[in-house]
């Protein structure tokens, strides 16, 4: 299995459930309740291909978190898992390759589509 899946969500049960499901799918998952510990983990040298992040986080807002993480790991892909209904992607995130398909609305009654998307990104060759 190549690379890790990073989950950032301050809601423990969401975090735990996603982690459990993806692990059952055979993925390696690291889950954090905020951006700061995730950054620390990455700076410690971990390599991560996909990040699933919430938008309301205790230490910074989701868009800033994505920008920060992107600067640190430019080849990391992002999926957004949010509970807010009126989120629209800022233009700079779109230029990073995110689109509406990357936004997953909470609650997920079925985690399979998200898991499939994660798997596809993880298995994908390095982007040109």
């Amino acid at each position: 299995m190549t690379g890790w899946v990073l989950i950032i969500d301050d809601e423990e049960m969401i975090r735990e459930n996603l982690k459990a499901y993806l692990e059952d799918e055979g993925l390696r998952v690291a889950a954090f309740e905020a951006v700061t510990p995730a950054l620390r983990w990455l700076l410690d040298g971990s390599h991560c291909r996909v990040c699933i992040t919430d938008l309301r986080l205790p230490d910074m807002d989701g868009n800033t978190a994505i920008r920060t993480l992107h600067r640190l790991c430019p080849d990391m892909d992002f999926l957004i898992h949010t509970g807010s209904s009126n989120y629209s992607l800022p233009e700079d995130l779109r230029t990073m390759g995110l689109d509406n398909a990357c936004v997953y609305q909470k609650p997920l009654s079925d985690m399979a589509p998200l898991a499939a998307a994660v798997r596809e990104l993880v298995l994908r060759e390095n982007r040109p």
Partner: protein
């Protein structure tokens, strides 16, 4: 009046006829008497007896033309004493005034000078008679000669015709007066014989033919009437009157006058027996009713026009008198009570409109106070359904009669729309509230849903990880699973999952009731969008499990001109998916033998039209009216929240500024039409 005049005219005419007749008789008598006179020359005694007994007098004058003898009858007949006359010439006693008189006398004296006989010389005399007025005398005479043939004088008879002259003058005068009167009458007065020849006509009749009375009388109508058909019809009426001997009233007939102007006449014809003529004629009076008829038609036209106007009003209008009896109702009112205006007239309004009976007090007050009285939002019940009506009573003040008009406007639709708007506003605030707390609700819902999914997955004996862990701690996973099943734990878990999903759906629906920016709008190919929805439908849990979506025939009728539409793709997909679900559900509930859904698109100049047509049981009118109301549902309690169509409506109309409408008839399926506005470049 007219007939009286005609009658007098006829009377005078008949009188004149009689006088003429009498004259002729007198003439005859006179000539007979002249024979007698010559016989009398033989016997003086007999002569005297006869002269004294005669109705005329006998006169004699000498060769100097002076009266020498007047029989006794002279005084008796003229009232002139003989002593005024005897010894004088005739012209000495005559009243000579005019040039005509003088001319007449010149001729007469000429005749006398030549000793010629004369007949019927009429002259006037004013000398001493007891009547103190001129007498008209008519005389005839012949010269007499002595035995030697020498002119001896004149002898003759005379008669007093004063009364006759006076009667004739009076008659002439009255005839002129009557003539003036019938000529003054604007109606056509005429008499015709059975051949159509005018025996009599007044000025109006002659003028209608463009002739003078003299030019018209004695001519046949056939020769003066321009339109043959009209003339023949009138002559046929004449003959009918003449032959039946009964009068005839012609209510309306056409008459084309000499200018070509068509007039409408009302004619009375009566049989008329003219003295002196053996055949019956016809006497008629025609009244020109052209203008009356036009006025009548104009009134009728105006009445129809006003009726049309009041009929064109959507309001129910009921005109009543002060006692509440109907004077007029318009068409919507006719429809409302199921009775025509003619039948409704004169009936009590409360009898035909029982729900309005309570307005009687308002009618009374409106008339009394002279201003309209409103009753807004009156609730009426119609076939078990609640209706709202604004009722207004206007007082009517006409010339003499007063009354009122009751105006009833059904405002049910407006009340519904208003309540729907209130609902929409409510929904918007719900949407705003939901958006604010969505994050807070969705997280726990996520925990519930994801948690139950994970539990179900992690007790699944088919999953290798589960088996490995179970083995490590010495549990038989299949037996555990049997246990969970028997104790219905799996069932409860499924219940939790479903309840969570339903709650998530409600939150999502509530979130839909918020106006969103158009930033989520993307260009979408309509055909692609519909195909995506069909794929979604085929994999939809409900559709797959409950309504057997794959057994529904899907027909496509796509307009190739329709290309790209700007919309929120997901939302519109949800709207169409919702419509497909409803259709599938309705068809399944009704066990339609070959359920079919037609997806149709059309390019309309400003709109992209997407229609979902099913052949299900259709929708009744009551439901149709309320179908887009939030929380209105026909499904049994628990089967639906009643938000589906109202959410769709909200998405299409509010978020996309489009239109969502439905047409249906029970038993004939339903057709939902979505119209999305086309922007620039929407055409492919």
């Amino acid at each position: 009046m007219v007939l009286t005049v005609i009658a007098s005219l006829l009377w005078s005419w008949m009188l004149r006829q009689r006088i003429t007749h009498r004259n002729q008789e007198m003439q005859r008598e006179l000539s007979e008497r002249q024979q007698v006179e010559s016989a009398l020359r033989e016997s003086e005694a007999r002569f005297r007896d006869v002269t004294e007994a005669a109705s005329d007098w006998i006169w004699e004058m000498n060769k100097n033309l002076q009266f020498t003898y007047l029989s006794e009858r002279f005084y008796a007949l003229t009232g002139i004493a003989p002593q005024y006359v005897l010894g004088r010439t005739r012209w000495e006693i005559a009243t000579i005034e005019s040039a005509a008189d003088r001319q007449k006398w010149r001729q007469h004296r000429d005749t006398l000078a030549k000793h010629l006989p004369f007949r019927d010389f009429v002259y006037r005399t004013g000398i001493g008679n007891r009547h103190n007025a001129d007498r008209y005398l008519k005389i005839s005479g012949k010269p007499i000669h002595d035995d030697q043939g020498e002119f001896f004088g004149y002898r003759g008879t005379g008669t007093d015709i004063t009364e006759q002259i006076k009667a004739e003058a009076a008659l002439r005068e009255s005839e002129v007066r009557l003539r003036q009167i019938i000529d003054l009458v604007p109606h056509m007065i005429f008499a015709k014989d059975r051949h159509g020849r005018f025996l009599l006509a007044n000025q109006a009749t002659a003028a209608a033919y463009g002739l003078t009375v003299q030019e018209l009388v004695n001519h046949s109508q056939r020769t003066v009437h321009g339109i043959d058909a009209e003339a023949e019809r009138m002559l046929a009426d004449d003959r009918e009157v003449i032959e039946s001997g009964a009068s005839k009233q012609i209510a309306e007939e056409c008459f084309t006058d000499h200018t070509g102007h068509v007039r409408t006449l009302q004619t009375i014809k009566i049989p008329f027996n003219e003295p002196g003529l053996s055949e019956t004629a016809v006497l008629g009076v025609s009244i020109d009713i052209t203008e009356q008829k036009q006025a009548k038609e104009e009134v009728a036209r105006m009445r129809l026009y006003l009726k049309n106007i009041i009929d064109s009003m959507p309001s129910v209008l009921i005109g009543v008198d002060p006692w509440g009896y109907i004077t007029v109702i318009n068409q919507p009112a006719e429809q409302a009570c199921g009775i025509s205006w003619e039948t409704a007239q004169g009936r009590f309004f409360g009898e035909l409109f029982p729900q309005l009976e309570g307005q009687f007090e308002q009618i009374r007050q409106a008339i009394h106070l002279g201003h309209p009285i409103k009753t807004p939002r009156m609730t009426l019940e119609d076939q078990g359904e609640m209706h709202y009506a604004d009722v207004m009573v206007y007082p009517l003040i006409a010339d003499s009669a007063s009354g009122a008009v009751i105006r009833v406007d059904d405002v049910t639709a407006r009340v519904r729309i208003e309540s729907m708007m209130v609902q929409t506003e409510k929904m918007l605030s719900v949407g705003g509230l939901a958006a604010g707390m969505a994050h807070e609700i969705n997280n726990p819902l996520g925990a519930i849903l994801q948690g139950s999914q994970n539990i179900l997955r992690r007790i699944d004996p088919a999953m290798p990880q589960n088996r490995a862990t179970a083995e490590a701690i010495g549990i038989d996973l299949s037996r555990l699973n049997r246990y969970l099943e028997q104790r219905r734990v799996l069932h409860f878990l499924e219940g939790i999952r479903e309840a969570g999903a339903r709650a998530a759906k409600i939150v999502a629906d509530m979130l839909s009731f918020s106006r969103r920016s158009e930033s989520r709008f993307v260009p979408v190919n309509v055909e692609d969008l519909l195909e995506t929805v069909l794929r979604l439908a085929a994999s939809d849990y409900d559709l797959k499990k409950k309504y057997d979506f794959k057994h529904i025939n899907i027909e496509r009728d796509f307009d190739p001109r329709l290309g790209v539409v700007h919309c929120d793709k997901t939302e519109i997909e949800q709207v169409i998916l919702n419509l497909l679900k409803n259709a599938a559900q309705a068809m399944a509930a009704d066990n339609i033998s070959s359920p079919t859904i037609l997806l149709r698109t059309r390019y309309e100049s400003r709109w992209a039209l997407i229609e979902v047509v099913d052949n299900g049981p259709g929708i009744d009118e009551k439901t149709l009216k309320r179908i887009f109301e939030p929380f209105f549902t026909t499904k049994e309690v628990g089967a639906g929240t009643g938000l589906g169509l109202s959410v769709s409506y909200f998405i299409v109309t509010e978020q996309h500024r489009g239109r969502l409408s439905v047409t249906s008839q029970p038993g004939k399926g339903a057709c939902f039409s979505i119209r999305l506005p086309l922007g620039r470049g929407a055409l492919s």
